[in-house]
């Protein structure tokens, strides 16, 4: 059967690259700086929740999740992308790069706290720096023409 190819392979490749570039922009560009800082701080605080007295971890976790959700919603509204909802166009790989190290550190925080009481504080700072830094760097890179 004859196949109908309306464009060349190079043109199709360029079109796919343009579509991918749009996806990257939606995923990473135009997030306000405060979004990365506030979310990084929230995730850092979550990883330090182990230091709270018994019984306070769960309510603190619930409050943090609600705050992070509100921050995401407000940032989306400010960006003009997906008003009233938290939308992400990130690929699994990108999500892993952004959240993976922070998640690993947060899990490690519980174990580290058994060795040194102040370890969760150091880990909270690391989580903040890693998350906010990754978001800011990748956001700036995506916005670059």
């Amino acid at each position: 059967m004859e196949t109908h190819e309306p464009i060349s392979r190079d043109e199709a490749s360029a079109a796919l690259a343009a579509a991918e570039s749009s996806r990257t922009l939606v995923a990473w560009a135009s997030w306000p700086t405060w979004y990365w800082l506030a979310t990084g701080a929230g995730l850092g605080a979550a990883s330090a929740a182990i230091l709270l007295p018994n019984g306070w971890e769960l309510p603190a976790g619930v409050v943090l999740v609600a705050l992070l959700f509100a921050v995401g919603r407000t940032a989306s509204r400010v960006r003009g992308i997906c008003e009233g909802c938290v939308s992400t166009a990130m690929t699994r790989r990108e999500s892993l790069i952004l959240y993976g190290p922070a998640a690993l550190l947060a899990v490690g925080s519980a174990f580290a706290a058994k060795a040194v009481w102040w370890a969760p504080i150091v880990i909270a700072v690391l989580v903040f720096v890693l998350f906010a830094g990754t978001g800011l760097v990748l956001g700036a890179r995506a916005a670059r023409p």
Binding site: I7, L25, V26, I81
Partner: protein
């Protein structure tokens, strides 16, 4: 006026254009329209000004391409007033999403790899 859709397209009165069987859609393939559809595919909706700034194109150029996509039934617009300013929110319709995905799949076939 927009470029007419590609060969083998079926248009019923009052209906949106359906993409060709192979999925390649000339209406979507125009560079700006492809980028618009790609952006809208990954967000529930995008405000006109935000889309303009993301794509780095003029208001009139974006309006022209959006008219073509809206006319084809690929994009729908919602007007909302916030802080006494009217904003236009854009989203892909079901038809538009299917057409865009079909088009991307056709591009992948041309390039010779599988999508995703």
């Amino acid at each position: 006026m927009s470029t007419p859709p590609s060969t083998e397209q079926v248009t019923a009165p009052g209906q949106s254009t359906a993409p060709a069987q192979d999925g390649f859609d000339e209406l979507i393939h125009a560079p700006v329209r492809l980028r618009v559809c790609a952006a809208l595919e990954h967000a529930r909706e995008i405000e006109f000004g935000a889309l303009q700034s993301l794509l780095g194109i003029s208001k009139s150029a974006l309006s022209k391409h959006l008219s073509a996509l809206t006319e084809a039934g690929y994009v729908e617009q919602r007007r909302a007033v916030r802080n006494s300013r009217q904003r236009v929110w854009l989203r892909l319709t079901g038809t538009g999403r299917a057409a865009y995905r079909g088009h991307v799949a056709a591009l992948h076939r041309i390039v010779g790899n599988s999508p995703g």
